[in-house]
């Protein structure tokens, strides 16, 4: 059946999908050449993840479509996860598909199957061994016995990727399908991933890749398909393309010029002063953030960036150190305290720390402001809904209705909703942990604009991002954390993506084989 070279690895024809009567994909035809790196692009909510889930057999497509994999055609109704797996498809979904209460090795086994002893009992030892090997060959430093819920978000991503890259049942008919794998990965890890993708390609494997990091796409993709509002609007080679052209394809409009970053007033008063902060992995960090200033924090995986933000938000214990907010000493024992002092945190782990998954979107957007709608004797529900609806529009959150449960939103739109929730408070100090993860290029520009406007009104922001390009374009100043302390600060012309990358990277142990 797998004899004879196919000209396409995967061909999707006439794929339609509706949720609750709302069309999400409309008659999508798409083909992917074997051995190519094929990027699937589109704005938030354009249907990329849905398309990939259909390819995974997780969502059934509406009647009429066909999925063809290496020459074998399946009607939409007869396709399922088992077929996808047998056909050599491996996935890293946008929300990873890791089960939090199982160990890393069990999460591997969920997809690759459990090794058995004598055809009966699970061979736990064998599973641990094979998992450790897969993790090692993907350069992921995680104990296979750890529960996934105890991993940091970035490690979770790495684990999911390592699971997809596992080199059991190797073969050229393997297709890797990656949905925004690098959204919250620091540059180094992202680099390792891209390297691995190239290696897979060189083995003849096919890669389908979704990302909002267009530079990355241009770097590795051979071809791109662009979705707009569920319609496939373009499919072409990357040769000769630039980012602006891609954005134009995604939006149907000319790309806007990125705005130059303004410089803060020289004599600005500090909003936040931290001295000798010791918490978790942090070993004495000094930091000042002034009014009108956006300060970036760069560092490696596990360098303590999130811990820094969480400490400043009262959500992690500060073991030692001094903290001043607006010139006055502050003791933040809980997020509540922090919010009272005008601090806001957009956490990096959306699913765990931000999403009220089953509550409607409008309640999610209102979550930080519930009390303010108390009119003395009852909730001003109408006002609350109106305000939420306005914010949904301002932040360009794509949804059928403000009543849609949060989980039904696309990843990027969820992130926008979380941002909206915090920006509406007009906080003095915005703490942003991977603020634009999963957000499309256009919306990211809009969000950057909102942050700049916010800061321009006399506030400040502290931004953690693994996307150094974002740090460069957004921040006035970037500090670099390493080994629990601040090792560098970049400002002005020295603040470039390359400089940040260089400062954060440690002896990049290049993959030795191949």
């Amino acid at each position: 059946m797998r004899s004879g070279p196919s000209t396409t690895a995967i061909r999707l024809t006439g794929i339609n999908k509706t949720f609750d009567g709302i069309p999400v994909l409309r008659n999508v035809d798409c083909s992917i050449a074997p051995g190519s790196v094929h990027a699937l692009l589109g704005g938030n909510g354009s249907g990329k993840s849905t398309l990939l889930k259909i390819l995974a057999g997780v969502h059934p497509a509406d009647q009429g479509g066909t999925i063809t994999i290496y020459g074998r055609a399946y009607a939409a109704g007869s396709y399922g996860p088992a077929i996808a797996r047998q056909s050599g498809l491996r996935f890293v979904h946008q929300d990873l598909g890791l089960v939090p209460d199982l160990t890393v090795s069990e999460n591997f086994a969920l997809e690759s199957g459990y090794p058995r002893r004598a055809g009966m009992a699970i061979s736990w030892r064998g599973l641990r061994r094979s998992t450790r090997q897969s993790l090692e060959s993907a350069h992921v430093d995680v104990d296979p016995q750890t529960l996934v819920r105890d991993l940091r978000p970035s490690d979770r991503t790495l684990v999911a990727i390592a699971r997809a890259l596992r080199d059991s049942d190797e073969g050229s008919h393997v297709t890797l399908v990656l949905d925004e794998p690098t959204a919250s990965l620091p540059q180094h890890e992202a680099g390792v991933l891209l390297e691995a993708i190239r290696r897979c390609q060189s083995r003849g494997q096919t890669i389908v890749y979704v990302s909002h990091r267009l530079s990355e796409v241009l770097e590795i993709a051979d071809r791109i398909s662009v979705l707009r509002d569920g319609v496939l609007v373009a499919e072409r080679s990357t040769a000769g393309l630039d980012e602006a052209q891609i954005v134009a394809l995604m939006t149907g409009q000319e790309a806007r010029e990125p705005l130059a970053r303004g410089m803060p007033e020289a004599d600005a008063r500090p909003v936040l002063t931290v001295s000798g902060l010791v918490a978790g992995p942090l070993r004495g960090v000094d930091l000042t953030v002034r009014r009108h200033e956006i300060v970036g924090v760069a560092g490696l995986l596990g360098s303590g960036r999130s811990t820094l933000l969480r400490t400043l938000f009262g959500n992690a214990r500060m073991e030692r150190g001094g903290l001043e907010v607006d010139g006055a000493p502050a003791r933040l024992r809980s997020p509540r305290d922090a919010i009272r002092r005008g601090i806001a945190l957009v956490p990096e782990d959306r699913g765990k720390d931000a999403a009220f998954a089953d509550l409607p979107l409008w309640e999610n957007v209102s979550a930080t402001a519930i009390r303010s709608y108390w009119s003395g004797w009852r909730m001003a529900r109408a006002t609350e809904r109106r305000d939420a609806t306005r914010l949904i529009r301002t932040f360009g959150i794509r949804t059928a209705t403000p009543n849609a449960p949060f989980t039904h939103l696309s990843g990027g739109n969820q992130q926008k909703a979380v941002l909206a929730r915090w920006l509406r408070l007009d906080p003095r100090l915005l703490l942003l942990d991977e603020p634009t993860q999963g957000v499309d290029a256009m919306a990211r520009a809009d969000i950057h604009e909102l942050i700049r406007e916010h800061v321009a009104r006399g506030n400040a922001a502290l931004v953690v991002s693994s996307d150094f390009e974002e740090l460069e374009s957004l921040c006035h100043r970037v500090i670099v954390l390493r080994g629990g302390s601040r090792v560098a600060e970049l400002t002005g012309p020295r603040l470039t993506e390359a400089a940040i990358a260089e400062l954060t990277q440690i002896t990049p142990k290049e993959p030795t084989h191949d």
Partner: protein
């Protein structure tokens, strides 16, 4: 790592099952399937009422004001107990102690007037306070020490049942229960039993708190994702604590109503009030605001069961029929909701 929900892990103990997956757009789905899903139980209830009211063998008696009042009044206490359950359920915990707390409160009130000769209003205060204390202790255990609410509340229920028995020695307390109180259980105003009005008042109050105060919204936020609730500045410990304390408060009031209605406090441990209350609250999650427990839904759930008991008694169906009927009705009610939902979205799990 600050983790708000301690070891919620695999068990459904923290979040009651219906709220794990959002089943549909809350309150706004106007498709046919959506309407069936949201109003299915109400339609079944109405259908049942019409059926028994028109059936020759039951109709006349069923339609009589006396019977309607009896059906309503008989559910007043049960409804109040179910309302008490709503708070912890909204905040994501089970509370298996509501029945036992209600029973304790009723014994407390009866003992206060009958054994200690305290004035009625003091007795009522004591009874309600006993409910609040029981709730507060549970709140402390669950919210502050992160104890599995199922075991904590079941332990509390067992303990209270034992305490009631130890105190009453299995006898009921019926002497000197003031008529002011029992009148509340027996008399009517404008043809409506007072106790029904009392329960309705409590229902409105609970509805108001759940729907029109920040606390109500906070409860749902904590129930949905405690960690996220903590990070938007809610005091999760306090809110969980309050959910149990409020549950105790309402259970305490239910105990006073129970005494008013029975005219005596029995040594019953109240556990038989638990399942009807749980059923009503769970039924409420498939009505109107699908996916979350609601006051209106609870009222419908309580009536649903009460009407079937009354109607089947009138028809003269043997006991097993009413059991089989109730079982089947539950399955049909939720089945209807489930199937209409599926019809709307075959993709859903």
């Amino acid at each position: 790592m600050t983790d708000v929900s301690p070891d919620s892990a695999v068990l459904p103990d923290q979040a009651p099952a219906p709220r794990r997956t959002p089943v549909a757009v809350v309150g706004r789905d106007r498709s046919v399937a959506g309407v069936i899903e949201r109003y299915g139980l109400l339609l079944l209830l109405v259908g049942m009422v019409v059926f028994f009211a028109l059936l020759p063998s039951s109709g006349e008696a069923f339609r009589s004001a006396a019977n309607i009042n009896s059906v309503l009044a008989s559910q007043a206490v049960g409804l109040t107990v179910a309302l008490a359950l709503l708070f912890p359920m909204a905040a994501g915990s089970f509370d298996f102690s509501v029945g036992a707390v209600t029973a304790t409160s009723s014994v407390m009130a009866a003992a206060a007037v009958s054994h200690f000769g305290l004035p009625l209003f003091v007795a009522i205060l004591l009874a309600v306070a006993s409910g609040v204390v029981a709730g507060a202790v549970l709140g402390l255990l669950v919210a502050r020490y992160g104890i599995n609410p199922f075991i904590a509340t079941l332990g509390m229920a067992t303990l209270l049942g034992g305490a009631i028995f130890a105190y009453t020695n299995g006898l009921q307390i019926s002497k000197d229960i003031p008529e002011t109180l029992t009148d509340l259980g027996s008399l009517s105003v404008f043809g409506i039993p007072r106790i029904v009005l009392a329960a309705a008042l409590i229902a409105v109050a609970v509805w108001f708190v759940m729907r029109h105060t920040p606390l109500g919204r906070h409860l749902f936020a904590v129930g949905s994702n405690a960690s996220a609730a903590h990070l938007v500045g809610l005091n999760v410990t306090r809110i969980k604590f309050l959910s149990f304390a409020l549950s105790g408060l309402v259970s305490g009031v239910a105990g006073v109503l129970l005494l008013a209605r029975q005219g005596a406090a029995t040594s019953d441990n109240g556990m038989n009030m638990l399942f009807p209350a749980l059923t009503a609250v769970f039924l409420s999650t498939i009505v109107i605001e699908v996916g979350r427990p609601s006051v209106l839904g609870t009222v419908i759930g309580v009536l649903f069961v009460a009407v079937s008991v009354s109607g089947l008694t009138l028809v003269g169906a043997p006991s097993w029929v009413s059991q089989v009927f109730n079982g089947a009705a539950l399955l049909i009610a939720v089945g209807l909701a489930g199937i209409s939902r599926r019809g709307a979205d075959p993709a859903r799990l």
